[in-house]
């Protein structure tokens, strides 16, 4: 069942929006694009101060025991303000893997730090176009991980990573302590994501799930993260729709606001449709956490959110004309972020297949 936000949840939305609008501006974000290895300190400090890092983690380990619905509300606002670091989602994924599949000792070691935000987590499953490779390049053998995990969001600063690896021909979900490992920064079109290739060379690895169950567990972690990201994408798309609207009512051509031309107003009305479908799917997916149809709901949320954000980025810039493509106006921050978020946790191709396998009765 889809949910209506209660008063507490609405307060989370209002408060997080206020906090982020006060702390994060495009003037801070633009310079981050041109340096590799920096994130927005104000964003991450706000996330820690406000307890967002603890939100969806168990109380026994310093968490607030809320869920995807609440974290989604924060992510939506982060998307509106162009979150200045990927850690809200990356740490959440790593922490969920430990919380769901880890031993008490592993939970005690990692979760309190992840909940406070002092520890940063990352999820390293993907290999190029495949977010869950049939045969992962990283191997685990006798408790040691070897190989390079590529393009890991937050990888430059992560203290702990959840790996999807190959152990003698069979998949394994494992965690590695990243202290002291070699990290190769990826100079990206969206550098505040702090992307890195993680070079594992005999790095101690602890197994969370082994065998066929590891693939299902990894998909579950990806789906949880994807729902958070879907909220973030929806927030970004919503912000762009509003920016486009505001521009269309003020900018004039041929003696009237450009928003009076149907080619412009219909474009913005179509964005409204995409944003509302994405929002509805994201809220629904968050409310389905832990249910049988969660992966289906997450895939639908992911697909519509990616479409909404990419389309909003294209169209908002188009509606602005020449000013839209300048560095200074910063709409490219959203265009870059829309693509980054479309790739993290798997592209639309991946989620389309996940969805159709299940709808056609061929999936897990």
């Amino acid at each position: 069942m889809s949910i209506l936000y209660d008063e507490g949840q609405q307060a989370i939305a209002t408060e997080s929006r206020r906090a982020l609008e006060a702390r994060v501006s495009k003037d801070d974000l633009l310079p981050l694009l041109q340096t590799s290895g920096k994130y927005h300190d104000g964003f991450w400090a706000t996330a820690k101060e406000q307890g967002w890092t603890a939100l969806a983690l168990p109380e026994a380990y310093g968490g607030l025991a809320l869920g995807l619905v609440e974290l989604g509300l924060i992510a939506h606002q982060a998307g509106r303000s162009l979150s200045g670091a990927p850690f809200l989602t990356s740490s959440f994924g790593a922490a969920k893997a430990i919380a769901l599949y880890g031993s008490d000792a592993q939970k005690a070691r990692w979760l309190p730090g992840l909940a406070s935000g002092e520890t940063i987590g990352a999820v390293a499953f993907a290999s190029g176009p495949d977010p869950l490779p049939a045969r992962p390049a990283v191997t685990v053998s006798a408790g040691k991980a070897d190989g390079t995990a590529v393009g890991v969001s937050g990888g430059l600063f992560a203290d702990v990573a959840t790996l999807f690896a190959d152990e003698n021909g069979s998949p394994v979900l494992a965690i590695v302590d990243l202290a002291g490992i070699e990290r190769r920064a990826v100079d990206s079109f969206d550098n505040s994501r702090c992307l890195a290739d993680l070079v594992l060379a005999g790095t101690p690895a602890e197994t969370l799930v082994a065998g066929d169950a590891a693939r299902a567990a990894a998909l579950d972690i990806l789906a949880l993260q994807a729902v958070v990201t879907a909220h973030e994408q929806t927030g970004g798309a919503e912000a762009l729709m509003e920016i486009a609207r505001d521009y269309a009512v003020t900018r004039k051509a041929f003696g009237q606001p450009i928003g009076a031309f149907q080619s412009i107003k219909h474009r913005i009305a179509e964005l409204y449709g995409l944003v509302e479908l994405a929002r509805a799917n994201a809220i629904h997916a968050a409310a389905r956490e832990g249910q049988d149809d969660f992966v289906i709901a997450a895939a639908a949320a992911r697909l519509s959110a990616t479409e909404a954000y990419d389309t909003a980025a294209r169209d908002c810039i188009q509606i602005h004309g020449g000013i839209g493509v300048t560095w200074e106006i910063g709409l490219h921050l959203h265009m870059r972020r829309a693509r980054t978020l479309a790739l993290e946790q798997g592209s639309s191709f991946f989620w389309e297949d996940i969805l159709v396998d299940r709808l056609a009765g061929e999936g897990a």
């Binding site: 069942m1 209506l4 009076a260 709808l359 056609a360």
Partner: protein, 401 residues
């Protein structure tokens, strides 16, 4: 179970009992006239069971329940393909407007009772040959005639006018003022002298819409349902009556599951079509879109249950669902190749791809075209400016033709 869940369960059970007499199998092969007669019996059965006028006042024969009960029943009813289409407009708009604006309350009470039992049908005479979207530009005129009025002109696209007993009509009573200020709202007897109804055959083969001609049709002033010159406001009220009806994310076409079944059945390049990436992408995209609409509708229901007003996003349903149904139907024909040519004009758009395809354009035009809906979203929800309107503020009879 909550009250509404109990209500739903009872409604579902009642609908099941109606299937033998009124379901798809019972309707198969009937002429429109036979189907209408069956529909009248079904409407009477609904009335007897307390499922007619669910959210209408009890003193007018309704059940006095809420909007949520109404759409809950409709969602269950929609699953069975009962012959209720003849009463959709009648009970959806003209009769509620009559309840709200009819001055002779005894007359109103009588008409409402007969409409609820399926004995009488009302139509809505709005669109004209000169325009449908531009309602206020209508040309049918009513002139004073003794103590009453005399109507001349033509309406078009009037659903079920050929079976209607009464209609509500907007006409021009003053051409010397700005276009939307010179309109007045009346009800008319469709059997009156001077009213001629001519069915229009649509592209898909059916003829549910009509041209309606008015030649010196005389009515008394007690037919008037608005102040003189105040008809546009009542017309708008008609269109706003129920923004949230039971909606269908399939756009009143086939369910996506039928497309998945088809894709599993047929082969493409020697493999099941369900394994083809192009087909898979369409299934995934359509599912995501329909799931979004379903979630919007569920949230709207929850808001109504909580006593709050649903958000404006409910207005997306028809726009998004019908045009995607159109494309998906084309694709379903592609999948069948030459097997798709065999065409049954009487098949239902709900479970036949060709019927869904050929009738889809009607869905994108009737009840607000895609373009009109986009304008409404842009102007009413997003606050974007109106289009340039050269006829604004100009007396109707001075607008260049």
């Amino acid at each position: 179970m909550t009250d509404i869940e109990t209500y739903r369960a009872e409604a579902a059970a009642w609908c099941e009992t109606m299937v033998p007499a009124f379901g798809k199998a019972a309707r198969k092969g009937l002429s429109v006239e036979q189907d209408l007669a069956l529909g009248r019996r079904y409407q009477k059965a609904k009335f007897d069971a307390g499922y007619a006028g669910i959210n209408w006042p009890t003193d007018l024969g309704g059940q006095g329940l809420g909007h949520i009960e109404k759409i809950t029943f409709e969602a269950e009813e929609m699953k069975h393909g009962f012959p209720n289409v003849y009463f959709g407009i009648s009970l959806g708009m003209p009769v509620p407007v009559l309840m709200q604006f009819g001055s002779d309350r005894e007359f109103v009470k009588e008409r409402v009772a007969k409409a609820l039992k399926g004995e009488e049908i009302w139509c809505q005479l709005f669109s004209e040959p000169s325009g449908g979207t531009d309602l206020a530009g209508l040309r049918t005129r009513a002139e004073t005639d003794g103590n009453g009025w005399k109507i001349n002109g033509q309406k078009v696209w009037t659903s079920w006018a050929q079976y209607s007993d009464y209609g509500v009509i907007v006409v021009r009573t003053d051409p010397t003022v700005a276009k939307h200020k010179g309109l007045t709202y009346f009800w008319v007897d469709m059997k009156a002298s001077g009213v001629t109804v001519r069915p229009i055959k649509l592209a898909g083969g059916d003829s549910h819409v009509n041209e309606v001609f008015f030649d010196d049709v005389k009515i008394t002033d007690d037919h008037r349902m608005s102040p003189i010159g105040g008809g546009f406001a009542v017309a708008l009220a008609t269109l706003m009556i129920e923004r949230y009806v039971a909606t269908d994310s399939a756009g009143f076409g086939p369910h996506l599951g039928l497309f998945v079944d088809l894709a599993k059945d047929v082969t493409l390049n020697g493999k099941p079509a369900i394994e083809d990436g192009r087909i898979r992408q369409q299934i995934a995209r359509n599912h995501a879109m329909r799931a979004g609409l379903d979630s919007i509708n569920r949230r709207a229901r929850l808001m109504m249950q909580a006593g709050t007003t649903p958000g404006p996003e409910g207005s997306l349903n028809k726009l998004v669902a019908v045009r995607s149904r159109q494309k998906l139907s084309e694709l379903a024909l592609d999948l069948q190749g030459t097997d798709a040519f065999a065409f049954d004009e009487h098949a239902s758009p709900k479970d036949d791809w060709a019927s869904s395809w050929i009738n889809a354009p009607t869905g994108r035009i009737a009840g607000g075209s895609d373009e009109t809906l986009l304008n409404t979203i842009a102007e009413r929800i997003l606050g974007l400016p109106q289009d340039h309107r050269p006829d604004k503020g100009i007396p109707f009879n001075q607008i260049p033709a």
